[in-house]
C-alpha cells in the first residue's frame, strides 16, 4: 500500500512506477512536481522510477490562474 498526498491509499504492486501512480490517480495536469519519500523525481524518469511499497508519494500541482 502506498499513500498519495497524505490522503489517498493505493494498492502497491511489484514494479510500480511513478507513471503508474499518476495514471491510477488520473493526474494529467502538466505542471506537477513529484516526490517519492521526499526524493524529487524528474519528469523524464516517471516511467522508470520504481515506487517502493509503503512509499509516501507527493504530487504537487501548481495552481492554474484564470
Amino acid at each position: 500500500m502506498i499513500e498519495v498526498n497524505n490522503k489517498e491509499k493505493l494498492d502497491w504492486f511489484e514494479g510500480m512506477t511513478v507513471q503508474d501512480v499518476l495514471d491510477k490517480m488520473g493526474y494529467i495536469y502538466p505542471r506537477i512536481t513529484v516526490s517519492v519519500n521526499d526524493q524529487l523525481v524528474n519528469k523524464e524518469d516517471y516511467a522508470t522510477y520504481k515506487v517502493p511499497d509503503n512509499a509516501r508519494v507527493n504530487v504537487f500541482h501548481l495552481a492554474h490562474g484564470g
Binding site: 507513471q19 494529467i28 495536469y29 512536481t33 516511467a47 507527493n58 504530487v59 501548481l62 495552481a63 492554474h64
Partner: protein, 671 residues
C-alpha cells in the same frame, strides 16, 4: 544503450570526450556537452532562444557507426548513441579561423574579443577589410534580436536583409515598423549594445529593473509554455480536459464533474478545428503570453446574423465549461453562444450558469413549456438556450426572465409558482446575486470559501485553491485554509490594484520552481518577486511581502466595509448554495456514492450501512454546512473580522485606515 519505456522518453548513453552521459532523446548536443562539464564557445546561442547554428563556433565531432562528421552542437538533437569530441585539432583549427574572421570584421567588440581569446585568435589584421567596423558596439549579426522578436513576442518586426557582406539588420522596407510596441526584448538580448533603448514611454524610475524581470517572463513563455499550460497554443481552454479528469468540470448545473462527451469540446478539438488566430492580439499587442484565441470565418446558425461569417474572440475555459454546464457538448454551440454573448454585451459565465439552473428547474418540473414560451429546456437543449439568449437581447419572452439571473428567478418562482425555496436555494448557483464561475467546488472547502466570500460574488479571482486544497492536500487544517484565504485573495487583489494580469503569475512557472517546499512553491516566489520589481521599477518604492499585503489589505477591507454599509458583506452574504459545497440531490449523491459513503464513515464517523440515500444526503448536508461555517470562522479570524464577517476596529487600526470616513462605514444606515 538506448532505453525505451512504454510511456517515458527514450534515453541514450553517449560518450563525450570519453565521458559517458545519459541524455534524453532530442536534447540538443550543446546542452548535453555543457551538462557534462565541457565548455564550448558560442556566439549566436542564447539560453532563452531557439538555436540557430549560424555562428558555427560550437562545432563538435559526432561519430555514428564509425562515421565522423562535424555538426553545430547548439541545434543538433541527440537521437542515437554517439561518440562526441568537442576539441579535436580539426575543430580548434576551424574555430580559430572563424574567430579570426569575426575579429577582422569587428575588432573592438568585447564579445568578439572574448571569443577570439577563447579560440586562440589574436591576429586582428588577418581579415581586416573594407567592411571592418571599428565601432565597439557594432551589430555582429548574431540574430538574437530577430529571434527574440519572433519567439518572445510572436512578432517579426526585426529581420535580416541582404546577402553575404551586405547582410544587415532591418525592419520591413528599412523603415520603422508601426507594429513595434517597444517591448525592448531586442535590446535585452543584444550582446554588444548595438541596440539601445532610448525611449522610455511611461517614464519609469528604473526601466532596467522592469526589463530584467519582464524578460524572464518572456523567456519562460518562449521556452517553457509549450511543455506547461500551452497558453500560446490554446489559452485558458487548455484545462477543459484537465478539469474533467479531476472531476471538476461543471456538468448539468454543477451536479457532476465530468462527462463522457467532454472530448468533443476539449482543447484538442479547439486547436484542430476552430482556433485560427493565436497572436498576441488580445489585451494588448506586446503580451508574450498571448493567451487569447480567435475563430475566423465562423458561420452563425441563429440570430440576427444567421448565415454570416464572423470572427469570434474565444472561447476561453469558462465559456467552454459553461457549455458542459448546460449539457452542450458541441463546440459549434459554444462558439455561437460565445459570439452572441460578446455581441449583446452579456457575460458568458452568468448566461451559462443561469441557463443551467433553468434547465434543472425545467427537468424538475418547477417550470414547464407554459413558462418558457414553448421551449423544451432540458439539459443539452442548445437551440433553445440560444433562443433564450436572443430573446434576452430583444427584450422579449422568457429570455427576459432568464436575463434577471439566478437570484431573481428563484425569488420569482417561489413567489409566483409556489416552488420549494429550499430546493431552489440548494441548486441555484449564486452568491450575492452573482452566478458561480465554472468550477466544481464540492471537494475543496478552501475553494468554496474563496468563491462565496469573494466580495463581488463567487468568482475565483480572489482565490483558486482547488489544487492546493483538494488535490495536493497541502492545507489540511482550518488554520492552513484560513492562511490561504488570507494570502491569495490579498495577493490577487494587489495585482488588480496595479492593473497587472494575474495569468503571467501562475500559468507559467520557472523551470526550477520545485526547489521550494510546496507551501512556498504554490506562491511561485520568483514570479511574486517579478511583480514587486515591476512596482519598484515604476514607482521607485521597494516592496516586499508585508508591504504588498498591507496595500492590498487596506483596499480589501475598505471594499468589504462599503459592501457592509450598503447592506451586504456579512456572514449571511457569504453563504453558498448546498450544491457548491456538496451533493444537493439524491441523484448526485448516488453518482459518487462510494466517495460520499467513505467520507461519512471516515470523516463524520457515521456508518452509512443500511441508511437510505435520502438519510445519507441529509447527514452529508448537515456535515458540509458545519465544515463550511468552521472554515469561514477561521478565515474571518485570520482576516481580523468579527464572527459576522465585519472588519473589526482593531484591525482597521492595525492596517492604518481607521480614519473618520472609513469608520463611518461601520454605521450601517439600515441598522
Amino acid at each position: 544503450m538506448a532505453t525505451k519505456t512504454k510511456a517515458g522518453p527514450t534515453k541514450y548513453e553517449i560518450s563525450i570526450n570519453g565521458k559517458t552521459a545519459t541524455v534524453v532523446e532530442d536534447t540538443y548536443l550543446l546542452k548535453a556537452v555543457m551538462d557534462a562539464g565541457f565548455n564550448v564557445p558560442t556566439l549566436c546561442h542564447h539560453k532563452d532562444l531557439t538555436p540557430d547554428g549560424t555562428c558555427r563556433l560550437c562545432l563538435c565531432e559526432v561519430e555514428t557507426n564509425g562515421k565522423k562528421k562535424l555538426v553545430t552542437a547548439c541545434n543538433y538533437p541527440v537521437r542515437s548513441e554517439i561518440k562526441v569530441k568537442t576539441n579535436t585539432e580539426e575543430i580548434k583549427k576551424h574555430r580559430k579561423s572563424l574567430a579570426e574572421m569575426y575579429l577582422g570584421r569587428w575588432p573592438n567588440v568585447e564579445t568578439i574579443q572574448n571569443i577570439a581569446k577563447l579560440c586562440g585568435a589574436t591576429d586582428k589584421e588577418k581579415y581586416k577589410s573594407d567592411i571592418t567596423d571599428e565601432n565597439p558596439k557594432a551589430c555582429i549579426l548574431c540574430g538574437h534580436c530577430v529571434r527574440a522578436c519572433s519567439s518572445f513576442m510572436i512578432q517579426d518586426i526585426l529581420g535580416f536583409a541582404g546577402r553575404g557582406i551586405k547582410r544587415h539588420l532591418t525592419m520591413p522596407f528599412g523603415d520603422v515598423d508601426p507594429h513595434c510596441v517597444g517591448c525592448t526584448s531586442c535590446g535585452y538580448v543584444c550582446p554588444t549594445g548595438a541596440i539601445q533603448i532610448t525611449d522610455e514611454m511611461n517614464n519609469p524610475v528604473d526601466p532596467e529593473l522592469i526589463r530584467r524581470h519582464g524578460m524572464k517572463v518572456n523567456a519562460e513563455m518562449a521556452t517553457l509554455d509549450k511543455m506547461q499550460n500551452r497558453m500560446r497554443e490554446v489559452g485558458t481552454a487548455n484545462i477543459v480536459e484537465v478539469m474533467d479528469a479531476y472531476d471538476l468540470l461543471p456538468v448539468h448545473n454543477f451536479k457532476f464533474g465530468k462527462h463522457p462527451d467532454t472530448h468533443k469540446i476539449d482543447s484538442k478539438v479547439m486547436t484542430r478545428d476552430y482556433f485560427t488566430q493565436g497572436a498576441a492580439d488580445a489585451c494588448w499587442l506586446g503580451c508574450s503570453m498571448a493567451c487569447a484565441k480567435a475563430v475566423d470565418g465562423f458561420e452563425l446558425k441563429t440570430g440576427p446574423y444567421k448565415g454570416e461569417k464572423v470572427v469570434v474572440d474565444g472561447p476561453e475555459y469558462e465559456t467552454a465549461a459553461g457549455g458542459s454546464n448546460m449539457g452542450g457538448f458541441d463546440l459549434d454551440f459554444i462558439v455561437e453562444y460565445n459570439f452572441y454573448c460578446d455581441t449583446y454585451g452579456i457575460d458568458t459565465i452568468s448566461f451559462a450558469t443561469t441557463i443551467a439552473f433553468v434547465m434543472e428547474a425545467f427537468e424538475a418540473g418547477i417550470i414547464t413549456e407554459e413558462h418558457t414560451g414553448g421551449k423544451k429546456l432540458n439539459f443539452g437543449a442548445m437551440d433553445e438556450a440560444l433562443e433564450c439568449l436572443h430573446e434576452m437581447a430583444r427584450g422579449e419572452g422568457f429570455g427576459v426572465e432568464v436575463g434577471q439571473g439566478v437570484r431573481r428567478l428563484k425569488e420569482k418562482w417561489v413567489k409566483e409558482l409556489g416552488a420549494d425555496p429550499e430546493f431552489l436555494n440548494d441548486i441555484g448557483m449564486e452568491v450575492k446575486g452573482l452566478e458561480f464561475s465554472e468550477y466544481v467546488s464540492k471537494e475543496s472547502l478552501a475553494q468554496q470559501a474563496g468563491y462565496a466570500m469573494a466580495i463581488k460574488g463567487p468568482q475565483h479571482d480572489e482565490a483558486w485553491l482547488i489544487f492546493i486544497d483538494m488535490v495536493n492536500n497541502q492545507i489540511p487544517s482550518f488554520d492552513d485554509k484560513a492562511e490561504a484565504l488570507y494570502y491569495f485573495p490579498l495577493f490577487r487583489i494587489w495585482f488588480g490594484l496595479l492593473g497587472l494580469c494575474k495569468i503571467v503569475w501562475n500559468d507559467v512557472a520557472p523551470a526550477d520552481n520545485s526547489k521550494y517546499p510546496p507551501q512556498e512553491a504554490a506562491k511561485i516566489p520568483e514570479h511574486v518577486e517579478n511583480y514587486w520589481k515591476f512596482f519598484e521599477g515604476m514607482t521607485g518604492i521597494p516592496v516586499d511581502e508585508d508591504k504588498m499585503l498591507l496595500q492590498a489589505e487596506r483596499v480589501f477591507n475598505l471594499q468589504r466595509l462599503m459592501s457592509y454599509y450598503f447592506g451586504r458583506g456579512t456572514r449571511e452574504d457569504d453563504m453558498p448554495p448546498l450544491r457548491a459545497i456538496g451533493p444537493a440531490t439524491v441523484e448526485e449523491y448516488l453518482s459518487r456514492e462510494e466517495r460520499y459513503d467513505k467520507q461519512m464513515k471516515e470523516e463524520i464517523g457515521i456508518d452509512p450501512e443500511g441508511k437510505s440515500a435520502e438519510e445519507k444526503l441529509a447527514i452529508t448536508r448537515d456535515h458540509r454546512f458545519k465544515q463550511y461555517n468552521k472554515v469561514i470562522d477561521a478565515a474571518y479570524k485570520r482576516r481580523g473580522w468579527d464572527e459576522n464577517g465585519v472588519p473589526t476596529v482593531e484591525r482597521l487600526k492595525q492596517i492604518g485606515i481607521d480614519i473618520p470616513e472609513v469608520m463611518a462605514l461601520l454605521e450601517r444606515p439600515d441598522q
